[in-house]
């Protein structure tokens, strides 16, 4: 029997394949459950023998984010991946990278916290990813994949956005999406850019060697003159406004006639789409809004729904209530907003969510 070219893979595994396929130049990481398969798969793929991509296990997460910082400063496509406690260690570096306006990709396959927590899935790092983590007024572009296919597709997308806006991008996944296997379709192999192409394309900012240029490019986040630092901040804020206008992404499911709307991202959104199906069978007009970018957050469609007369929203997250703050801000008191969540690595079932909806919102 002829074998079909189909692939069944874990979310973490496809991150590694996607990195190689999109022409990534370097991966620097440190193992942590539940994302260890990313580097494990990269080591198996041995891309340094095919595309020339560097894969290096650093001595810690702090070292890996600073390797990303250095690599990204040279205009290359650089990434790392980790899970919650490891990402906390990277937060200082992320602030520096954002200040220097360097493109890079950081994958966070979240696990339950706070502290060392558990290795089971969680979405407890929403606020860290979207509102800071590191110090200062900066933002990451945050993408939330909800299937193995999206884990694959969003790696290339992240690099596109990172270079378009010269901003670090975070792919905010969780242990469930990372460990789950589904069908995946691969894209064509993109060639890595040559050093000459990088020097030409990123000549405005990258530290590629001065060569024939008139001025040196300096990558720094240190500005001792307050006015100069304020100028940087103003430039960053303008950029963030532009990103908000151009890159906000979301998906609606059965929202057109909905009286109630669930808001959920990542693996929670998958569970919530089943909740919508169940509720519709019972005659409840329920819809689902799935933010694909968590920052920028899709506030506008929620605002429109509230103005259109949606009676209530329930933010469903594997945490104690984080994204719900953004939902409340978007809805501006025009409709009821509730939160339902489980913490500690517990995943809710569709039945649990539906019951919470009935108890908290529909009444």
């Amino acid at each position: 029997m002829a074998e079909k070219d189909v692939r069944l893979m874990k979310g973490n595994e496809v991150i590694a394949y996607a990195a190689v396929h999109c022409g990534c130049d370097g991966y620097f990481g440190y193992p942590i459950t539940p994302q260890s398969e990313v580097m494990e798969t990269l080591m198996e793929l041995r891309p340094w023998e095919s595309t020339g991509m560097v894969v290096l296990q650093a001595e810690s997460e702090i070292a890996s984010i600073n390797m990303v910082y250095g690599g990204a400063a040279t205009g290359k496509k650089i990434m790392t991946s980790s899970s919650s406690p490891g990402v906390s260690l990277m937060s200082e570096g992320l602030s520096y990278i954002a200040a220097c306006e360097l493109p890079c990709l950081v994958v966070n396959c979240q696990r339950g916290g706070p502290g060392l927590g558990t290795i089971q899935p969680s979405q407890g790092d929403y606020l860290q990813a979207c509102k800071g983590g590191g110090h200062g007024d900066y933002h990451l572009i945050v993408l939330a994949p909800s299937s193995v296919q999206e884990m694959y597709d969003f790696v290339g997308l992240s690099f596109d956005l990172a270079f378009k806006h010269r901003n670090p991008v975070m792919l905010l996944a969780d242990g469930a999406i990372g460990q789950m296997m589904e069908k995946v379709v691969f894209s064509e192999q993109q060639p890595r850019l040559t050093d000459e192409q990088v020097a030409e394309q990123q000549k405005a900012w990258a530290a590629t060697g001065k060569g024939q240029r008139a001025n040196s490019n300096v990558v720094t986040s240190l500005y001792l003159n307050p006015e100069q630092l304020e100028m940087l901040n103003n430039r960053l804020q303008e950029k963030y406004s532009r990103i908000k206008a151009e890159e906000t992404r979301y998906e609606e499911f059965m929202c057109d006639d909905a009286e109630y709307v669930l808001v959920a991202f990542g693996s929670s959104a998958r569970i919530c789409s089943a909740v919508v199906e169940q509720a519709r069978e019972e005659g409840i007009k329920l819809g689902l809004l799935r933010p694909i970018t968590l920052w920028p957050f899709p506030a506008k469609p929620l605002q429109d729904m509230a103005e259109r007369g949606v009676k209530g929203f329930m933010s469903v997250e594997m945490n104690a209530g984080q994204m719900v703050e953004d939902v409340r801000m978007a809805v501006e008191g025009k409709a009821a907003v509730e939160h339902y969540g489980r913490t500690g690595g517990v995943i809710f079932t569709p039945d649990e969510v539906l019951e919470a909806l009935k108890n908290n919102l529909i009444k």
Binding site: M1, E3, K4, V6, L8, T33, P34, T118, I119, Q120, G175, A176, Q179, M180, M181, E182, K183, S267, R270, I271, C272, S273, A274, V275, E277, I347, F348, T349, P350, D351
Partner: protein
């Protein structure tokens, strides 16, 4: 067609692999599939389980409320998952090590003595494929040729020499699985209740 199932037992029994073989088989037949493991501290001797959903449509939630089929390979898993079979669903268990058999009467219950049979044949490693064969006898959701193609896909090349033995185990599993007789509620003799001297 949608089949939502969980396979639960000890780590080392091949629980996750069995789910993987089934998932690959389903893909060979152009079905959608999700394979969601319990992961982490589970290792040989600990408990392990995997939820596999096979459907001819896009699968929304990889997490289920109840299961169409539950395959139980140790007592801990029986205690945890007997109640998770949907009414009218299927519960399959290996009798080896089960002290408290299932008591539900609203589901179909099957037993398979695969552990004992594998021990008799000296083929301990064929345990999970034998169970899989039993399952496929009850729920023939994928064709045998697709199972074999799926098995080949899920195994590293160095293990392909075991394919014939696994095929034999699948076929044998289908022979030895038994529907448990429906036990009508038997009232204890009156003297036990102290009603008659």
């Amino acid at each position: 067609m949608k089949e939502t199932m969980i396979i639960a037992g000890f780590g080392g029994q091949g629980v996750l692999s069995m789910g993987k073989i089934l998932a690959y088989s389903a893909i060979m037949q152009d079905f959608e599939v999700t394979w969601m493991p319990s992961y982490g501290p589970e290792m040989r001797g600990g408990t392990a389980n995997v939820t596999v959903i096979v459907s001819d449509k896009k699968i929304s939630s990889p997490i289920a409320n109840l299961y169409d089929t539950v395959i139980v390979l140790n007592q801990q898993s029986m205690d945890k998952f007997e109640s998770k079979v949907r009414p009218g669903g299927v519960l399959i268990y290996d009798t080896n090590g089960i002290i408290n058999p299932p008591t539900r009467t609203d589901i179909e219950i099957y037993t398979i003595d695969a552990a004992e049979e594998c021990a008799r044949m000296g083929q301990a490693k064929m345990f999970n494929t034998m169970i899989l064969g039993g399952y496929l006898k009850v729920k023939p959701i994928v064709k045998l040729e697709n199972v074999m193609a799926g098995l080949k896909k899920s195994l590293p090349e160095r293990a392909w020499r075991f394919l014939p033995q696994n095929e034999a185990a699948i076929l044998h599993g289908a022979e030895i699985i038994k529907r448990r007789q429906v036990t009508t509620t038997v009232f204890p003799p009156p003297m036990w209740l102290g009603l008659v001297e």
